[in-house]
Symmetry: C2
Subunit: 339 residues, 2 copies
């Protein structure tokens, strides 16, 4: 069956996440031992599907470490030979395979320039893991389907652990322990994604929008749909969408809007109202009753992005199958990329 | 005539840029007086059309200041009340109108948290200018067309001046003085954009790709085309495109590829070859002979993004006119946004 591998790897997520959460104490100790006592800031080195998880980390780490966080521009280091002082910075490099050359050489450069280097990778013996001063191995098992699923949510959970190490995380340890069950509940309920996929059967474009902590999930949802279905899906923050691209929204335009109770909710509510006034077909990913893709009640905003990403995986899989595409091997997409 | 204002404002660019370059000494002195002697890093606060210019600044400033540069996540400050230490950071806030509330309040928060705050705005008496510790006013004159043109290239030039203040810029003062003439030469040659617009007459989607310093111009080109034509245009860095989204490229897919001699050229050349093997219709923005949108020979890579943005403006205008759209007032796009 098309997408069998992707579905199987999606199904592993509760166990993989539970295994990561169980390593809480060790992971926190590892990051604390590594990071500078007087952190000047952090920098996240990521690409492609890791970029969305990186955006999740970017928000969480700045919120919690109370120091500026930057997304690296790897080409400055790999092509331009920029000589940047990363003393007192924590550099977190993300690569599922641990073999993306640009991520590896950027982390090496940053460590040479003074950064404390942490790798988040699925392969604890990969070149990236060996090069980094410390590694949070995802141990999610081999990922054989081309669209990354279990490694994405595991990477997000790893960032949540880094956040817990650097300050007071906006979720409790008990809530983190509950996350695998929330993800399992979503996976046990594939029907909403099937229904939404039927509504989007002829869509050629899709806007996915989130705000604050859920912005990262919007990026990942758009990427997953684009990778598996050839729909031109774009992820936006609510503020950026409103600042211009909203102009393309005409009646019938499909929009996926992610929201959860928290500081960003009111602004998302305004945006959804505006989009609906423009005639957009807005499907909600939220814990509200009328959500197209429901989130479990009680999940804190800071962990909601992980569950929202799982919902988006279900949608991408259902859409691909409806369109006769095999998401396990979408044409033109290579698993290991050399950038 | 449709797009009359946009065309008129585009035509002002050589003079506006020349006026900015003429203020080199004063601008450099102003930034040097403001910035921390021992800079820990910089942060750029920008939205929407300023975001692409911000990306230009992000690359230039890290290269030149040799300290990490971050793109701010405003919602952390405006919604989440994040309490971040910006001591020894330079915060550069960009808003054409100087009235985008989220940009203003983010800069205020950062200054309160220790940042040295610089505003880049077209209105030197705007709330943003008044709130910032120092202001680089663009003085580009009122921008009445909805798609930003002259304020975008002026903002990019302002970032080039900030770069010159913070270190050794990757362009000479003489080259900066030549920029207005290069832009004028492009504006005096609208034919290539007309020809390309004819080829893209029925396009519904467009990928725009750049690498390194030209990545920012790819973002801006995509934004301009999207705003004025309703084509679903997306800007990518070469590395990110290759890391996944390239999967959607099938025979006939229209791609605009930006490149200039410099460290990023070889990688762009590889990508363009790959795209053409996939059957994509790749139009080059470069100084090569076969470029669809030519750049003037001799423009340094670090200033090429500004000329490439002007080329993209011409394309957006020509495409809009061909489609019977008025780029001066695209439906649904408001000039001042409240985010």
């Amino acid at each position: 069956m098309a997408g069998e591998r992707m579905a199987a790897e999606m199904a592993e997520q509760p166990d993989r996440l539970a295994a990561l959460v169980a390593r809480w104490d060790g992971a926190v100790a590892q990051v604390r031992a590594l990071a500078w006592p007087e952190l000047a800031g952090s920098v996240i080195v990521a690409r492609g599907s890791s970029d969305a998880a990186g955006a999740y980390g970017r928000y969480l780490l700045e919120l919690v470490s109370r120091r500026p966080v930057s997304m690296a521009a790897p080409s400055l280091h790999t092509l331009y030979g920029a000589d940047v002082d990363y003393h007192r910075f924590l550099a977190v490099a993300v690569s599922q395979s641990g073999r993306t050359p640009e991520i590896l050489s950027t982390l090496q450069r940053m460590q040479a320039e003074g950064a404390a280097g942490l790798a988040i990778t699925n392969d604890g013996s990969s070149p990236l893991a060996r090069a980094a001063q410390a590694t949070l191995a995802l141990d999610a098992g081999e990922e054989r389907a081309v669209p990354a699923t279990k490694t994405v949510t595991a990477t997000m959970m790893a960032f949540a652990l880094v956040a817990a190490a650097l300050g007071t995380a906006p979720f409790t340890r008990e809530q983190a322990a509950e996350l695998p069950a929330w993800v399992a509940a979503a996976l046990a309920d594939p029907e909403p994604a099937e229904v939404l996929a039927a509504q989007l059967a002829d869509a050629t474009r899709l806007i996915v929008v989130g705000r604050g902590l859920l912005y990262s999930a919007a990026l990942e949802a758009a990427l997953k749909v684009r990778e598996t279905t050839r729909i031109t899906a774009e992820g936006f923050s609510a503020a950026d969408l409103r600042h211009g691209p909203i102009a393309v929204v005409e009646p019938g335009y499909p929009v996926l809007a992610l929201r959860a109770p928290g500081p960003a909710f009111a602004d998302m509510a305004d945006l959804v109202d505006d989009l609906r006034r423009r005639g957009a077909d807005v499907a909600l990913v939220s814990e509200e009753e009328d959500a197209a893709l429901p989130l479990p009640p009680g999940v804190p905003e800071a962990l909601a992005p992980i569950v929202a990403v799982v919902r988006a995986q279900q949608l991408a899989l259902a859409l691909a199958r409806r369109r006769g595409l095999d998401p396990d091997a979408p044409e033109g997409l290579a698993k290991v990329t050399v950038t």
